[in-house]
């Protein structure tokens, strides 16, 4: 039901501390936009500005074509889950959840039904009559989520709604949110998270915030597959993409790079003659590394310092004492690799090239 348009939005605290600058963003009705970005980059601030809780110090925010910079939160038709939960401490869980509906003068039956449904979904049934102080951290967070679910707003704003839930519940709630979204294809959602999986699975588009501005906007797969900068490349995907320095030696539809540390990489990123000799960073995601025995056609060779077995996969850390170690991710359990030297390469399609922090693909 709502399109949002941010034009040149900026936020300055106390006249001096710039937090956000020149944010331009078009959010279409029915989208689920996920904001990601390093801690402290201004995700919550942006969300709060959209909610109307924080003055917009520059630019305009339009909802459905109407400038709402000065419209109070209540009239923007939004629901919000706060990062700090912000439960009403003097109300029981049930009252917390039904507060907005009561305000909206919904009938008791309607309220009850909505609350019961949300409670069931979030497994809050047994706690409906407790006060927030008698709940665990995760339970509090679920109440906060439930509170926004029971309403039926034009725009949902979620600030890290799942960060305190356990894995099972997180998956369940995530799916619930996805279904909620699906069942209301018209409602717009904006979602802040730190969780890669959440961002990747939920988002229609992901907005990566960094350096007071937007680093890239795109669908999850776009961001994953074709990051336009080293920052985004490293930010999306966990563990982060490995960046290894090299020099372009062959150009064309495929590019060949001689790695500074030895070995050669081949990338499907097309280059022109002019690029020959360019110093680039070769980006390979840990999960894209595959072992190789080739004497030259390897992108990286190193001794496995640490292995982390996650069950389904094993992480291999090379040069773990470096600030950003090189990491490989192999399916299955490979504790035996520790201390061994291995060579790794990757499918050219999955080899990214960055120059001057920007992707060569996008220059």
């Amino acid at each position: 039901m709502a399109n949002l348009k941010l034009t040149g939005v900026a936020k300055t605290y106390g006249g001096t501390v710039d937090v956000l600058k020149d944010i331009n963003l078009d959010i279409k009705q029915g989208e689920l936009i996920v904001f990601v970005g390093p801690s402290g980059c201004g995700k919550s601030t942006l969300l709060r500005m959209i909610a109307g809780l924080e003055k917009i110090t520059g630019g305009t925010l339009e909802i459905d074509g109407q400038m709402v910079n000065d419209v109070p939160p209540a009239q923007r038709g939004i629901a919000m889950v706060f990062q700090s939960y912000a439960l009403y401490p003097h109300m029981t869980v049930r009252d917390n959840m039904s507060f907005a509906l009561k305000i909206a003068k919904k009938s008791p039956d309607e309220i009850n039904a909505a609350v019961e449904k949300a409670a069931k979904m979030l497994q809050l049934g047994p706690y409906l009559d407790r006060l927030p102080k008698a709940l665990s951290g995760g339970q509090r967070q679920r109440v906060a989520i439930g509170r926004s679910i029971v309403r039926d707003p034009k725009v949902y704003l979620f600030d890290e709604p799942l960060s305190n839930l356990d894995a099972a519940l997180r998956v369940a709630t995530r799916i619930e949110i996805a279904q909620l979204k699906e069942s209301m294809p018209d409602s717009t959602m904006i979602y802040v998270t730190h969780d890669q999986v959440e961002a990747m699975t939920l988002a229609t588009r992901i907005v990566v915030l960094a350096n007071k501005g937007i680093a890239q906007v795109g669908t999850p797969l776009e961001l994953y597959q074709t990051p336009n900068s080293e920052f985004v490349a490293q930010f999306i995907g966990s563990p982060a993409m490995n960046l290894l320095p090299g020099e372009i030696v062959e150009t064309g539809a495929q590019t060949r790079i001689r790695m500074d540390a030895g070995g050669t990489a081949v990338s499907a990123v097309p280059t022109t003659d002019a690029d020959r000799g360019l110093k680039v960073n070769v980006g390979v995601r840990p999960e894209d590394f595959v072992g190789t025995d080739s004497a030259t056609d390897y992108i990286y060779e190193g001794k496995v310092d640490i292995t982390e077995a996650l069950g389904e996969v094993t992480l291999l850390y090379f040069e773990a004492q470096r600030e950003d170690p090189v990491i490989g991710k192999l399916p299955g359990v490979h504790a035996d690799l520790r201390g061994r030297t291995v060579k790794m390469t990757a499918d050219p399609e999955k080899v990214h090239l960055f120059h001057d922090k920007r992707s060569l693909r996008y220059r």
């Binding site: 106390g14 109407q66 400038m67 709402v68 000065d70 419209v71 109070p72 009239q75």
Partner: protein
């Protein structure tokens, strides 16, 4: 109609009326004056937002301006006239006052009061609030400490006569001195220090006030911060002074201010204990000496009192600014 019935009706009308006023005026504002649904949606809403605070404030402002501001302004004008109120003498009352020793003594004493009483009452109140916080009989202790608050100033002065009286058969201080073979002394006549004996009465009364407010504040401190400090190895003193007190600083300012203000108003105690003699006069009692006799002078003193409170005002505003950011 019996006054009791009248009172009940007033409560209903007053409370209901207030609630109705606030509700109705908000309703009218939103629905009729600046309805949000028309074309200039945004403008109307922001206009309504500008007006709404004043709806909330209106009754309070009405009372404040009619019952306090209006007399204050009137009194200020009055303070510029002579004692009979027929000749304008500018700041004559003020200049003359400051040239008089009696006033200077009162002024000096008042400074003592303003420093000592709020400090002592707040400190003791804080101490009691903290000490009784986790005591099983804490509530009882608090009630006992609070009790003086409930005693009228006259009653309180009487109580302290039983302490200070120089007859060892009445005053307990002199009874103790007598027991140790010392001569009775009249503590209310010891120059300078007598002020403190009188001040202590107010401290005794106001500690309960400070305690009640501060203990509510102490209870509002997030427990996790205290727990974190416990784990950090802080001892109870450090927890109190480094964790708790700074977190309730705002409330301490409030309590301090309130007591300071009270100090600037209370004359009953001085009146009842010494009648302002033995150099124990303070500004409020000095003012009462002139009240209804020389209104020019009395109102001038009132304004001096208001000026004395300026630093406290400034302090509060600074604090309020800090909180708002």
């Amino acid at each position: 109609m019996s006054p009791a019935l009248q009172g009940i009706i007033t409560i209903i009308i007053g409370v209901g009326g207030c609630a109705a006023y606030f509700y109705a005026s908000n309703y009218v504002l939103d629905k009729f004056v600046f309805p949000a649904r028309t074309d200039d949606h945004g403008r109307n809403i922001s206009r309504a937002t500008m007006i709404r605070p004043w709806l909330f404030l209106a009754p309070a402002i009405f009372f404040l301006s009619l019952y306090l501001v209006y007399p204050v302004v009137g009194s200020f004008v009055r303070s510029l006239y002579n004692r009979s109120g027929d000749t304008f003498i500018g700041l004559g009352n003020y200049t003359q006052m400051f040239s008089e020793e009696g006033f200077r003594i009162a002024f000096f004493n008042n400074i003592l009061w303003v420093i000592f009483v709020p400090a002592a009452a707040t400190f003791l109140g804080l101490l009691v609030a903290q000490l009784t916080d986790r005591l099983k009989w804490g509530n009882l202790a608090k009630s006992l400490i609070f009790m003086p608050m409930a005693i009228s100033f006259v009653g309180a002065s009487l109580i302290w006569k039983f302490v200070y009286a120089n007859n060892p058969e009445i005053g307990i201080i002199n009874a103790v001195r007598d027991y140790f073979g010392m001569n009775p002394i009249d503590v209310l006549q010891i120059p300078f220090w007598n002020n403190f004996f009188i001040m202590f009465i107010l401290v005794w009364i106001q500690t309960g006030f400070a305690m009640v407010i501060l203990s509510a504040a102490l209870r509002g401190i997030p427990e996790e911060t205290v727990e974190a400090a416990i784990i950090d190895g802080a001892n109870p003193f450090q927890i109190f002074f480094k964790i708790k007190v700074p977190q309730i600083m705002g409330t301490i300012v409030v309590v301090w201010t309130t007591i300071t203000i009270l100090v600037l108003k209370v004359f009953d105690i001085v009146y009842a204990m010494t009648g302002g003699n033995f150099d124990t006069e303070i500004l409020p009692s000095y003012m009462m000496d002139y009240m209804f006799r020389d209104d020019g002078r009395a109102t001038a003193v009132a304004f001096v009192i208001m000026v004395v409170v300026t630093p406290v005002m400034v302090w509060n505003i600074v604090q309020a600014r800090k909180e708002m950011n």
